[in-house]
Subunit: 257 residues, 2 copies
């Protein structure tokens, strides 16, 4: 196994460039941390470029890495800390190829994110869409990058469970509508309908918006109906992740019970 | 207006001690950041000890501070940054007296947190309980401190809208049950009941647990019924904040629609 002890090593310098979205987009690769997520990637058939582990990671995962025939570097604790973007590094960082997502059908329930900026919110929403049995998630312009470390961390591997694609929401919504699939926007507007008034259907698209601005007017004007979640107390609004959870489970429960 | 330019100033050193829970508990005070939250505190009748503002905050809030007769220090940007626990300081930090929460009735819906550790989760859950019109929240042992900066930030002032108390959950649950109020625990156990099977009632207590361990066995054994949220996809679990949002809106919607 190859070893790297210095953070000035050129390979390490090159790999650190993947902390930047631009570089991830150019190279079509990203960094994944933690054994659990790396294992999920392998199980999902994702091609792993290289793995960096520290001594502790080596002891824990060596046999598995050999078995998977993954190109591995044993690195010092300092080097691993340098590569890691987590407060507490997990002992393993992998350079991973982005998935080539092929969507076979836009049937079922889809979640559309219109400029959701906070990576924790985006990751949690994808994890919840996975839990709720949604068919996929579409990330519109201005939404946090799927491959940023915070999104990956809060998503907990759900990107390996359902298709997540980036795309222009306007075009995508027109596509849903021409296929006869209802599209529901969300807004904090009393002209919108309380979500419980909508009878869930199997094929549906739900749009959630930016933390401060909500769903853009351009998108809201293209939906079949816009929904709101009533506020019964004195809070000004709900966190977008929470709002998404309430709406997704409203739509999915009825389908499955 | 008094001025402080140095982070070595004794007043600043003393105030920084409130970053520690132990000191907050001893003094019964905490630090609150941002104009919006400080304004909410004043409107809620909370006694403000002292306010520290930088030049920008001074220009924006000076008239309001004079009007409120709040003891104010104009401080350098460095001093404010030193006092602040936010990634982006908001120009105003207030030393605030903890509320003396008096609960008049345990009727209505209550949220009980059993060792929820992540401050962002605790803050979001309280904000959601507020939005859902809950009567109050009880923080059990091991739950993140209400007055930590991350809880305050994600709570967005909801602590000024509904009573939040700390207490022993075992005793509190016995109290609810002896008053004939149903207590629902949550667990990822198929022996539990899917939450949709429970018909909401006006008076209710819902218990959510630790991110990794869930609700403790001691608590689960005292509830009327334990509930779970079905997972339809491949995610292993839901974030506790999301689970709380789904459950609270299940119980509250039915009451109000």
């Amino acid at each position: 196994m190859k070893e790297i002890q210095s953070i000035k090593n050129q390979t390490i310098k090159d790999v650190k460039k993947f902390h930047q979205k631009k570089h991830r987009d150019q190279q079509n690769k990203y960094l994944l941390e933690g054994y659990h997520l790396v294992e999920e990637a392998v199980l999902a058939g994702i091609i792993i470029d290289t793995v960096f582990i520290d001594q502790k990671g080596y002891e824990l995962y060596h046999d598995w890495l050999v078995e998977q025939e993954i190109d591995t570097y044993l690195v010092s604790h300092d080097v691993l800390k340098n590569l890691s973007e987590l407060p507490t590094p997990q002992g393993i960082v992998a350079l991973v190829n982005k998935q080539n997502v092929v969507v076979e059908s836009y049937r079922g329930a889809w979640l559309l994110l219109d400029g959701v900026q906070d990576p924790g919110n985006v990751g949690t929403l994808i994890r919840t869409a996975d839990a709720a049995g949604f068919s996929g998630v579409i990330l519109g312009d201005g939404t946090a990058d799927l491959y940023s470390s915070k999104v990956l961390r809060s998503m907990q591997g759900s990107n390996f469970h359902l298709p997540i694609i980036s795309g222009n929401l306007i075009e995508r919504i027109k596509h849903f509508r021409s296929a006869g699939i209802p599209v529901y926007g969300t807004e904090l507007n009393k002209d919108a309908l309380p979500y419980k008034k909508v009878t869930p259907v199997r094929d549906v698209a739900i749009v959630l918006g930016n933390e401060g601005q909500g769903v853009s007017q351009a998108v809201l004007s293209l939906t079949n109906q816009n929904l709101y979640i009533p506020i019964y107390g004195k809070a000004e609004s709900l966190n977008v992740g929470i709002a998404g959870g309430i709406l997704m489970y409203h739509f999915v429960n009825e389908m499955n019970n």
